[in-house]
């Protein structure tokens, strides 16, 4: 059975685009998850304290005062002096005259919460004070990710303050390549909290022989704070920044799969309608239902295999060229390829089943 080449090519291209979109959307979500996790994991903290009822670090509005440090540092099982204040706040810095999106990460130099070393330049000047009480004498310096493309010595504007780039980090961006601006907690209080003497959260590290879950359970008995383990925090941040906002995207992915299946099913059905006379003749001269079905399914398989494989290639190509971090997971690629193939072939099979009902008597009438 001969297929219309242009139709097969166009349908294959349609499948290619749909499959690459499915994979790219998955890759974007996966990239977001990786970026959401990588900052939290890079801190090395496994005890995360936020304000009671805020839903956890990074989730709701959380402001903590200095005395919460006392709870943490006095808690048995916490590495001595590992407790550190942390500000993690969305901001709109002006970079090279353009307003952009970023996250201000304020922490104490040498403590948990940010990089200890810069890959280029130097780290910001740290506060001389033991705590994070307001102090005006600290230079406004920031360490940024190299992907921001800023040069050492350049200035960015945060609120009404000018902050100077003094160092660079690598692979420390947040969800959707949102840059993280690492600075002293004191500077962060000034530029994002207007000198308000609070922080968003406290973080600490448990001793090696201690179970963070037990420490967290103990600390949670204190009113006014919510305490989470690293695992809980990762779960929260992934759910809050990726899974919930991306529900519509997940739905769209299912729709794209349906569209791919419909496309193959529709084309197979149209082919079957066009070839009714030919199918009738083949059946009249002895072609079994299986033989006729196999001829139609050959078209389905060709379209599906070519479409899905090209879609896979195209997705990886666009992932590499995308302006945001897209991480297509190899295992997910295999799953998407398998599901897409099953959906396309299943849909084509349902349409091709109609061919089995063609009456071979048709061979005695009309022309092919």
């Amino acid at each position: 059975m001969r297929y219309r080449r242009a139709r097969v090519v166009l349908t294959g291209l349609g499948i290619t685009v749909l499959i690459s979109l499915i994979l790219l959307l998955g890759g974007i979500m996966n990239g977001m998850r990786i970026q959401a996790r990588q900052y939290v994991e890079s801190t090395g903290a496994d005890v995360w304290v936020s304000y009671e009822g805020s839903g956890g670090a990074f989730i709701g509005f959380s402001l903590l005062a200095e005395e919460h440090m006392v709870f943490l540092n006095s808690e048995q099982g916490i590495v001595a002096n590992s407790a550190s204040p942390l500000i993690f706040a969305q901001a709109r810095p002006t970079v090279r005259g353009k307003s952009t999106k970023a996250i201000v990460v304020g922490y104490k130099l040498g403590k948990l919460g940010g990089p200890k070393h810069a890959i280029e330049g130097r780290m910001f000047t740290g506060s001389e004070f033991k705590d994070y009480r307001p102090e005006d004498s600290i230079p406004f310096e920031v360490v940024v990710d190299e992907k921001m493309g800023l040069e050492i010595g350049e200035q960015i504007t945060l609120g009404n303050e000018k902050v100077r780039v003094v160092g660079k980090t690598r692979s420390l961006m947040f969800v959707l390549d949102t840059p993280l601006l690492f600075m002293d907690v004191r500077v962060a209080q000034k530029v994002v909290f207007d000198n308000y003497p609070h922080v968003n959260m406290m973080i600490a590290r448990s001793m090696e022989n201690q179970k963070p879950a037990q420490i967290v359970a103990s600390l949670n008995s204190i009113e006014t704070i919510d305490v989470h383990t690293m695992k809980q925090t990762l779960g929260n941040i992934t759910e809050y920044y990726v899974d919930e906002p991306m529900k519509a995207v997940q739905f769209l992915r299912v729709m794209l799969w349906l569209a791919a299946g419909l496309l193959v099913g529709m084309i197979t059905y149209v082919t079957m309608l066009e070839k009714t006379q030919e199918i009738g003749v083949l059946k009249a001269i002895g072609g079994s239902n299986g033989y006729v079905m196999a001829l139609l399914l050959k078209q389905v398989v060709i379209i599906s295999v070519v479409g899905v494989m090209l879609g896979l290639g195209l997705a990886y190509f666009f992932a590499a060229a995308a302006p945001i971090f897209v991480a297509i997971h190899p295992v997910e690629s295999i799953i998407v390829v398998c599901i897409s193939f099953i959906v396309c072939c299943g849909s084509g099979y349902l349409a091709a089943r109609k061919a089995v009902t063609v009456d071979p008597m048709i061979a005695f009438r009309g022309e092919i």
């Binding site: 003749v281 009249a284 001269i285 033989y291």
Partner: protein, 224 residues
């Protein structure tokens, strides 16, 4: 002489209730090996329905059918197996696949029967040569005359060495010279391959080629 087709009380109705039409009514037919039988009658008398029943394309409502000694029951048997193993068809409108060459059109029948491709190709070449188309192997149907197309169709019918070939108005779309040539070829092929042939036609001029003529009227076989 062996009996190739034997039908008893073969009946086929179309429609139901008051709209029911009996297209073939209690027909008894017997066709012997190597016989050339013509089934003749006016349009709508049931000729095509009869060869569709004998050719295992339609399942009868009543009656019994034996092909090559095997009892045929369309309700339990896969009729496509009988069609590809024991029966060949030649259609009025040739029904060659337009995108295949003459050679490939003959090979299709053997592809359906799951024959080895190389064997199928040499058999198709042999048959096309026998029907006088050795120079037309790689021509598509659009490049062939009506007579040539029907020869390809005849070669396709012979491809799987059927016990019987049913030809439905094979000369209806041919001029008289092409019709005569085709009938001569059918006679030659019948002798060469010892094939039984049943031809449905309303063309009186072909009568002389038949060993036996079955006349039909209103779904029944009638004596003349």
């Amino acid at each position: 002489m062996a009996v190739i087709v034997e039908a008893t009380g073969l009946t086929k109705r179309f429609g139901s209730g008051d709209a029911s039409v009996v297209a073939v009514n209690s027909v008894n037919v017997r066709i012997d090996e190597s016989e050339l039988v013509m089934i003749m009658g006016d349009s709508g008398c049931g000729k095509t329905t009869l060869i569709s029943l004998l050719g295992c394309i339609l399942t009868p409502d009543d009656g019994e059918l034996h092909i090559d000694g095997e009892s045929i029951d369309g309700t339990v048997q896969d009729m496509s197996v009988i069609r590809r193993e024991k029966i060949g068809f030649v259609f009025q409108l040739f029904h060659l696949l337009p995108y295949l060459t003459a050679l490939e059109n003959v090979m299709v029948a053997m592809d359906i029967a799951r024959k080895n491709t190389q064997d199928a190709e040499s058999r198709a070449q042999e048959l096309l040569t026998q029907v006088g188309l050795s120079e037309r192997f790689h021509h598509r149907p659009a490049q062939l005359s009506g007579g040539e197309k029907q020869r390809v169709s005849f070669a396709r019918a012979l491809a799987n060495r059927p016990k019987i070939i049913f030809a439905d108005e094979p000369t209806a779309n041919l001029d008289s010279r092409q019709s005569d040539n085709l009938m001569n070829l059918i006679q030659e092929m019948r002798q060469e391959h010892q094939t039984t042939i049943a031809i449905v036609t309303h063309h009186e001029g072909l009568k002389s080629n038949a060993e036996r003529i079955i006349h039909m009227k209103d779904g029944r076989i009638v004596m003349r």
